[in-house]
């Protein structure tokens, strides 16, 4: 997993709440058996005017000029700003892969759905929670200021605006540690193989019908 330390990047404001994972990556693209290649289909139904299917040349499709991601001023954005309950619905990790394949490394919102939140950390995407009032302020600034960038410092746990205002954010210490060091969960868990075996031995006597 790619390490995450600090990021200074362009912000794209997506002014919608309850953005669900069906919207982030529509079902027809879930048929892939890979983890990559989802970038062109991020927000597919909103981004293009014509229906998309896997295997198409997406660069030739008709884009929806009104959709925020298609506006030239947000090209190259790596921070997505969104409203509450981002990532609700289906557990598809493809939603996180699509966001990171596209180039996003941070999503800032007042709240996230649990499974999406969890999936993000496993893929080096930082779901960052800020108060609704602060998110509101960031929306106003991002929309009013072309080239609006934020600095996200995971070590210091702050988001810094161009004018120097700094907002602290919370992140689980274990997840932060894994992100900062690019650590893989499975390797870490397997270090506790003895504990897992001991648990199984005990459980086998308590609840033998489970084995």
């Amino acid at each position: 997993m790619e390490k995450f330390e600090t990021l200074n990047a362009l912000v794209c404001p997506l002014d919608r709440s309850n953005v669900d994972t069906d919207a982030i990556i529509p079902k027809q693209y879930l048929k892939s058996v890979k983890r990559t290649g989802f970038g062109p289909n991020l927000f597919d139904d909103w981004r293009y005017l014509d229906p998309g299917e896997p295997g198409m040349d997406h660069s030739r499709r008709r884009v929806n000029p009104d959709f925020v991601l298609n506006q030239p001023r947000y090209e190259g954005a790596r921070i997505l700003l969104a409203r509450k309950n981002f990532g609700c619905g289906s557990s598809r990790e493809h939603a996180v892969w699509a966001l990171s394949n596209y180039g996003f490394r941070v999503v800032i919102a007042p709240s996230f759905a649990d499974i999406f939140f969890n999936n993000s950390f496993k893929n080096g995407l930082l779901p960052l929670i800020l108060d609704e009032a602060i998110v509101d302020q960031l929306f106003r600034e991002a929309e009013a200021t072309p080239g609006y960038r934020l600095t996200v410092d995971l070590q210091a746990q702050t988001v810094v605006t161009p004018s120097g205002a700094s907002f602290p954010f919370q992140v689980d210490p274990f997840r932060r540690h894994c992100l900062l060091n690019g650590l893989d969960d499975i390797g870490l868990t397997l270090q506790h193989g003895e504990d897992i075996r001991a648990y199984e031995a005990r459980r086998r006597t308590e609840a033998p019908w489970l084995f």
Partner: protein, 468 residues
């Protein structure tokens, strides 16, 4: 000893170890696998040379992509076919239990787990699918996980997790006639919102929940995720134990008696404390119909489509305006005047025998209305289909003009050929009414099987209680 909630008991029984910050390694008893969220996890195992920790705990089935008719011709869409074949290769390679297409036991993963007794009370159950919350109906701790976690559980038999907060939703009293488990859960979501359960494990209790069959409890727990909760659960009672008894994977002989004794403990202690308690009056619940693009946008069938101009929260009002536009509805319109184009009775929410019986009862002796282009029933599993046919339910539907299909997810998410065309309006017994969920530009209204049947025969959202 301090009083414990059901969630506390399930959690405590599965903790392998806990880190200082509270992150626990939680042991997983049952791992259900389907074709959409598993290929990248199996690939991960192969790339790192890892093996499944306990292959015996895994049950795999294709459901999302499978066609619901002309199965003898295989899967026409090459991309879908690859995904189903990939699952087949993976289960063979790793030696896992598998119910392929054509096996009578094949069906939607959340229908077949309980049906086979692969889901048992007291278990931890995971699946790379958010509706895994369904299995909590058995007094199990069941959660949807992402693909990285699928790989993690395959490799280690454990899930890294922090304990969630606990919520009790008590549905007090009894529902009136014509009001089903689906209406109860939609009313709950309408009350607490789609993010109301975020960060919580929800226990559903109260007399109205106790009175439900296992099928009904599964319907309620299924949609816990639509209220934002990863896990929903119901305490074990005789209804649970009677359902499990004799199922293929259920314990037998001495183990059965030992298991039942343990399962009897699977309820919250009388003075257990919850972080949040919500009371819902069962008698006030009417048949429900969603009007928008989020399950919380729901109304009683006697209601009228709401007006965003009457809402003060601007973000919310804008969301409502977008939903009204997408759904092609105007504020103030009575729900019962909304006409439909298609009917879908199916999905892991409502494709069990009881659901199909309830719909058949309404359809019996009637015909699908002229304005309905397609009405279909997609049973949740091969066994549900077989049983329904043995009861003659397929004839009732076919005689009325419905289609009777093979089991799978089908138009719940339209990954196979079953889908809505742009602008088409559907009465659906599934669980998500998101934009384009059932096909690009499709308009979904979530309802119970009986209400879907009523919509089929009247061509609009008629109150099923008024059909005689």
């Amino acid at each position: 000893m301090t009083a414990k909630t059901l969630y506390d008991k399930l959690w405590d029984a599965h903790v392998v170890r806990t880190e200082e910050d509270g992150t626990a390694l939680l042991y997983i008893d049952r791992h259900l696998v389907h074709e959409v969220t598993s290929p990248q996890a199996f690939e991960g195992l192969r790339l790192t040379g890892r093996k499944p920790w306990r292959s015996h705990s895994v049950v795999a089935v294709p459901d999302h992509n499978v066609p619901t008719r002309d199965r003898d011709q295989g899967i026409a869409d090459p991309v879908s076919r690859t995904q189903v074949e990939t699952l087949q290769q993976n289960v063979r390679h790793f030696g896992l239990t598998f119910f392929p297409m054509g096996d009578i036991r094949q069906g939607i993963v959340h229908v077949i787990g309980p049906e086979q007794g692969a889901t048992l009370p007291g278990m931890t159950v995971v699946c790379g699918d958010s509706h895994t919350s369904t299995h909590g109906a058995f007094g199990a701790l069941s959660m949807g996980i992402g693909t990285s976690e699928v790989e993690h559980v395959l490799a280690t038999q454990c899930l890294l997790q922090k304990k969630m907060k606990s919520m009790l939703i008590s549905v007090d009293g009894q529902v009136g006639p014509g009001v089903t488990a689906k209406d109860i859960v939609l009313a709950i979501i309408g009350e607490i919102g789609t993010a109301g359960g975020t960060g919580y494990a929800i226990e559903f209790g109260g007399d109205a929940i106790r009175a439900l069959s296992m099928e009904g409890r599964m319907t309620v727990c299924n949609m816990a995720i639509e209220a934002g909760a990863r896990a929903g659960m119901v305490a074990v009672d005789d209804t649970t134990i009677d359902y499990v008894k004799g199922r293929p994977f259920a314990p037998k002989g001495a183990y059965w008696h030992q298991a039942v004794a343990a399962w009897r403990e699977l309820h919250s202690d009388p003075d257990a404390r919850f972080d949040r308690v919500v009371h819902i009056d069962a008698a006030s619940i009417e048949p429900q119909v969603t009007w928008g693009t989020s399950p919380e946008m729901v109304l009683p069938v006697s209601g009228k489509v709401p007006n965003p101009d009457e809402v003060t929260d601007e973000v919310k009002a804008n969301g409502m305006r977008r939903a009204l536009e997408y759904m092609g509805l105007t504020a103030g319109m009575p729900v019962s005047d909304i006409t439909v184009d298609k009917i879908f009775i199916g999905s892991c929410t409502n494709a069990r025998l009881e659901d199909i019986r309830a719909a058949a009862e309404v359809v019996k002796g009637r015909r699908v209305a002229g304005n309905v282009k397609l009405a279909m029933v997609v049973p949740g599993s091969g066994l549900v289909k077989q049983q329904a046919e043995a009861e003659g339910l397929d004839r009732i539907f076919l005689d009325a003009g419905f289609e009777w299909r093979e089991p799978g997810c089908s138009m719940c998410l339209a990954m196979n050929a079953d889908r809505l065309e742009p602008g088409e309006r559907c009465a659906s017994t599934s669980n998500r009414n998101f934009e384009s969920r059932q096909g690009l530009g499709g308009r979904t209204h979530l309802v119970s099987p009986a209400m879907a049947a009523a919509a089929a025969v009247t061509g609009r959202f008629a109150d099923v209680r008024e059909l005689n």
